[in-house]
Symmetry: C2
Amino acid sequence: MYRNFRVVPNIIFGRGSFNQLADVIAPHRSQGSYFVFVLDDVFVGKSLEGRIPLVKDDLLLPVNVDDEPKTSYIDALVEQIRTSREGKPDGIVGIGGGSTMDIAKAVSLMLNNPGSSADYQGWDLINNPAVYHVAVPTLAGTGAEISRTTILTGPEKKLGINSDYTLYDQLLLDPELVADVPKNQWFYTGMDCYIHDVESLKGTFINEFSKAYGEKSIELCRQVFLEEHPDRDDKLMMASYFGGMSIAYSQVGACHALSYGLSYVLGIHHGIGCCMAFDVLDEIYPEGVREFRQMMARHDITLPKIAADLDDTALERMVTTALNLVPLWENCLGPDWKELMPRQRCKELYLEM
Amino acid sequence: MYRNFRVVPNIIFGRGSFNQLADVIAPHRSQGSYFVFVLDDVFVGKSLEGRIPLVKDDLLLPVNVDDEPKTSYIDALVEQIRTSREGKPDGIVGIGGGSTMDIAKAVSLMLNNPGSSADYQGWDLINNPAVYHVAVPTLAGTGAEISRTTILTGPEKKLGINSDYTLYDQLLLDPELVADVPKNQWFYTGMDCYIHDVESLKGTFINEFSKAYGEKSIELCRQVFLEEHPDRDDKLMMASYFGGMSIAYSQVGACHALSYGLSYVLGIHHGIGCCMAFDVLDEIYPEGVREFRQMMARHDITLPKIAADLDDTALERMVTTALNLVPLWENCLGPDWKELMPRQRCKELYLEM
């Protein structure tokens, strides 16, 4: 049985295409309603904020992503929209990196589904379609713009709301928007994509569909991180999109599983967490890790070390979090993954970080 | 201004996925209605026909594609559906090569739009959405499964019905279905894709989005036509899909323009017409034509010659048909294309074929 998967049905790509945002959403506006623009608060007071095509009752909703998105934060934002405007919005536009794009997805789902966002962490638990929602990424690499999940840290777990309804209705990919990102963040987020590709291509689930996307994505990552190209932002945006599409019939693997443990227990952001985890996975992804280190060297990246500060309780929780992600380990190590990755080996990997 | 383009929103890919067709369309069935299965009549009496998941009032509609689809044929098929069943169908499934997929697209549009299909040849002339329609390609290369057009030969011109509504709602890509295609047809249809890619990549309209798709598509074509791979059918299916996506922000060029003249005036099928035209385009696409000839040699392909039989009236009509395709020439030769491709040069190209 193959998955019948849904892709984002409308895409606009090009330098300066942000200027077309008003036109893109115009057909979705109705009399008396409004749009919500979910904006990473690093842009508050910056020129990008001034370019947002706000009209009349539209709501600008700055969000803080110093921490990765929590279910309680989503619930509070939904409440904030409900109390500040009458009726439901016509649409939600998420402008920012992976966390902001995930927040915008979750908010648009929760406006049409009762209860707390924590109730829907899992697979296909959402019953009602989301409010129309548009992704405008300002960072490239996470694949959040194209994925059917929104990763949230809940009271009990870090887990996505996985659903066809989570998927955006529209992408606006403007490579000019990623030009000003700080170097370290650019690198870590780009590596999220590179690692997606390695894990997808080296996984046991791979087929020709996911391979075509993954191979092109990794080639573009190499151009961006190991070569010089004037259009590197365009290339990284396409790499991110293709990397996300590659997961359609595949899965990520060991690195993403370990990185979830780092995020859930230590609050480490996903991109840097992936880098820290990948750097100890020589045995599983030898060529990938070798090339990743070339990329780090070329861009003068030094990863933080955490092992010295880890107590045993934290360590055990991280191991549990990582090993709970069964499909990731199955993709990575095959059906016998439990024998190949006992708790002790997983713990030792964390202790190398 | 960039195009906000629509892509087919649902895809299922995998060997044997044809067995899931009943499940894929099930959510679109309604009480008292029916599905129409548009089937290339070469499959009548073959095992594939027996695998079509017909229920109750469903209509099996074999179509003949010895000639490329005419607007009069579309109108007759729509009439046939209307007279043989009450009410509109829930959906249309096109099972076959590029011509059959184009017929299924056109029929699903014309069931919801008044008049003759010839009235809608052009860009964005369709007013009402099509009936839900599903593509099941049995040939790989045309990109018809992913394009927003259905190419029809009308009383006045060969031109597509270009519209977002033309696009399929669902793709089912089963590489097993292309295994039995006769070698020449496999080659000509595959070359349609290879030539798409060359024309897109060498064109003046190209951007990073179209380049990423086009480059991966051409790489897959090389694997299929210049190497040996056990999964070549999977690769060619992905090449066709990526080749179609590459056109999103690009265009085809000189070869497709010339091939339209061959089809319109002489009734030559699109795939073989593209090969005949490409073979005389050394000056415009030197590397592409060289590689194309390697592919022809490897697969023992000999192209028919037509120049000796051409009278001057036919020749003039072919030149007019080809040169009317302005965007193709603009993409290929830039804004000064009229000086670079006068009628005389175009005529000489036809006389080399």
